[in-house]
Amino acid sequence: MSESVTLEIPPSVDDLQQAMASQHYIAGRGLAVSTYLALRLQRPLFLEGEPGVGKTEVAKVLASTLETELIRLQCYEGLDISHAVYEWNYPRQILEIRLLESAHALDPRAAERELFTDTFLIKRPLLRAIEQTRERPPVLLIDEIDRADEEFEGYLLELLSDFQITIPELGTIRAVQPPVVVITSNRTREVHDALKRRCVYCWIDYPSVETERRIIAARQPGVSERLAEQVAAFVHELRAAELYKTAGVSETLDWAAALVALDRDELDAATIEETLGILLKNQEDMQAVRGERIQAMLNRALARGAGG
């Protein structure tokens, strides 16, 4: 164990926003304020928004801004203690028993003491985030909590209130300094109010055309200014259309990269048709916009650029 150092939190919202921008993350003012408050008030940051608006990225950028480790827990239905917190390494334990047996040294009481030690413990993300083996508290990302079930939410609620984990065979492990917690949700279901109430809440919307252009410029430096502008404007038009699943910012970035790979520096309907699969991931949606609608959207997008 090493001396623990407190995290260096940027002194103001502006500083945090700039620090994130230097990591190529363009945060809107609302998000910057929420993130800053989560750090200052030591509350979990609860990020909700459509898929692909950069929720997960916030945690990554935060970890590198604070120069600390990122620990990620991906949620799924049925996520339980043995996958989220800890598990005993059963095969190794059984092997150990066999070894003791063959040496005729198996004393049940002693064996129990020996078998349930750190050596046989598999640490999962939540336990790793709590135990203090590093200099600074880490950033703990609990990703897509809406995929986990209510039972897990209940457990998390308990963990977030006292930052301690009890392992019956070992005792209670308590965080010396609580980790910075970022929780994301795609809102495929409502997360319980009690959990949200402990957090600093932020809904991340799709960015404005101008912000998205800046995001493209920051993330995909190879994209020309003109193309970035057109891409942002076109995606904006696309999002206005009634689709089952529209394009997120991550799709925009993939698309911009694809256009560069294809050596395009401006948009035309044929290119959009060819690369539409990067933006839309749904057959019905693709059929709905193909042809004239693409041309119409492109015209509107280009007019926006020309108009101002």
């Binding site: 919202v13 003012r29 304020v33 800053y36 200052r40 008030l41 005993w88 019905e284």
Partner: protein, 391 residues
């Protein structure tokens, strides 16, 4: 100007606008304001929003209230038209004077005991089991309401991804190891299996003009369903789609129904089933279609919309659920043929096409939901129903 005082006032205003604001959160908000530039309106708004709002749907309401409060630069006058913000309060007003409020307690003693309310025990009630709902008198509707509220709905089960101890299944390593250590040997292997849970239900109810005769019984039916242990999501539609799930999550049936009626402003009016389903698919399906639900559509199929859209959207619903069941009250009539364009378009996609016109048909539905056979093939109307089993 006293900041704390203003925050408290603002909190009260938000509550009046229907937001669920806790006192503890107001204290948090005050603490948080120490960290940001209170001279910046944007930052103050973002701070208060981060701490006082935790629901996307509340953001618009919050922002409007914030504008109103801080633009005025003074506390709002009493009687400020908060409701002109376009929102209704979350708390439902007291029932109008003169309307007798029936408590749950009275209700229990008024009707038959819950034991006799089981399936097949309808005889205890003064309702005909075979009479069409559309011809029910006020009295019969009341009796049916009491019955449906406690109808023992049980849903087919799905396997979750959680484990539990079981007598057969995969070996459970954790207890196995403990026993090995303690006894040195294993006589019977501890085992575990996936836990099961009832399937969730998503119900889409048609409340347009042609369904008006059935709308009250539909409300009772839906409410009864929501009272079962199963997770139920409910939407009502006529020309547009409204989610009413939240309104059913109360123990007071009467209040829930009152809310229901208010929420669906377009109770009555023409039907556009295809458009309603499209709205469902675009805005809600991703959030409410989870864990292999059963989707129930209650409608007579009278549709003024485009049958092509209906067919397309219904196909999509079918592909995303475990079973798609269409309940049609008209199917009870002996001479009914599903000839409307809407119904014709729909039949290609549904797994089951069942009547829902009297209590017997609901009992049959209950049995069907309990068994819930696996899906085999798309519903083939002519092949399966040439002999029209209900006539």
């Amino acid at each position: 100007m006293n900041l704390a005082f203003n925050i408290l006032r603002f909190g009260r205003m938000l509550r009046a606008a229907g937001l669920d604001i806790h006192h503890g959160r107001l204290v948090d908000a005050l603490r948080a304001l120490e960290w940001v530039n209170v001279g910046s309106r944007t930052d103050v708004a973002a701070t208060l929003r981060s701490l006082l709002v935790h629901e996307r749907d509340e953001i618009v309401r919050f922002d409007r209230a914030f504008d109103l409060f801080f633009k005025a630069h003074r506390p709002p006058a009493p009687g400020l038209p908060l409701f002109s913000l376009g929102e209704r309060p979350r708390v439902v007003a007291q029932p109008a004077a003169g309307v007798p409020v029936q408590t749950e307690f009275e209700d229990i003693h008024a009707g038959p005991s819950s034991a006799t309310r089981a399936v097949g025990a309808w005889s205890a009630a003064s309702v005909s089991r075979t009479k069409d709902f559309g011809e029910f008198t006020e009295r019969e509707l009341e009796s049916a309401r009491a019955l449906l509220e406690h109808f023992p709905w049980r849903l087919g089960r799905r396997r979750t991804r959680r484990w539990q101890r079981a007598s057969s299944g995969a070996p459970d390593l954790r207890p196995m190891l403990r026993r090995t250590v303690m006894t040195g040997d294993l006589i019977d292997l501890p085992r575990r299996a996936r836990r099961e849970a009832p399937r969730p239900i998503v119900l889409l109810g048609d409340v347009s003009g042609s369904m008006e005769r059935y709308s009250r019984i539909l409300a009772h039916f839906v409410y009864g369903l929501a009272q079962s242990a199963t997770r139920v999501e409910v939407f009502l539609f006529a020309t547009r789609l409204t989610r009413v799930t939240r309104h059913l999550m109360t123990r007071r049936g009467d209040a829930a129904l009152a809310r229901l009626a208010r929420e669906v402003q377009d109770w009555g009016g023409g039907t556009r089933i295809g458009e309603a389903l499209r709205a469902f698919n675009t805005h809600w399906a991703r959030r409410v279609i989870r864990n292999g639900p059963v989707v129930l559509i209650v409608s007579d199929g009278w549709d003024r919309g485009d049958p092509v859209i209906l067919s397309q959207e219904l196909g999509r619903v079918r592909r995303s659920c475990r079973r798609l069941i269409w309940l049609n009250p008209l199917l009870g009539a002996a001479d009914y043929q599903p000839l409307t364009r809407g119904m014709q378009a729909a039949l290609r996609h549904v797994d089951d096409f069942l009547p829902a016109h009297n209590l017997v048909s609901l009992e049959q539905l209950a049995d069907h939901l309990r068994a819930l056979p696996a899906r085999t093939q798309p519903f083939a109307w002519r092949a399966r129903h040439r002999s029209a089993p209900w006539s």
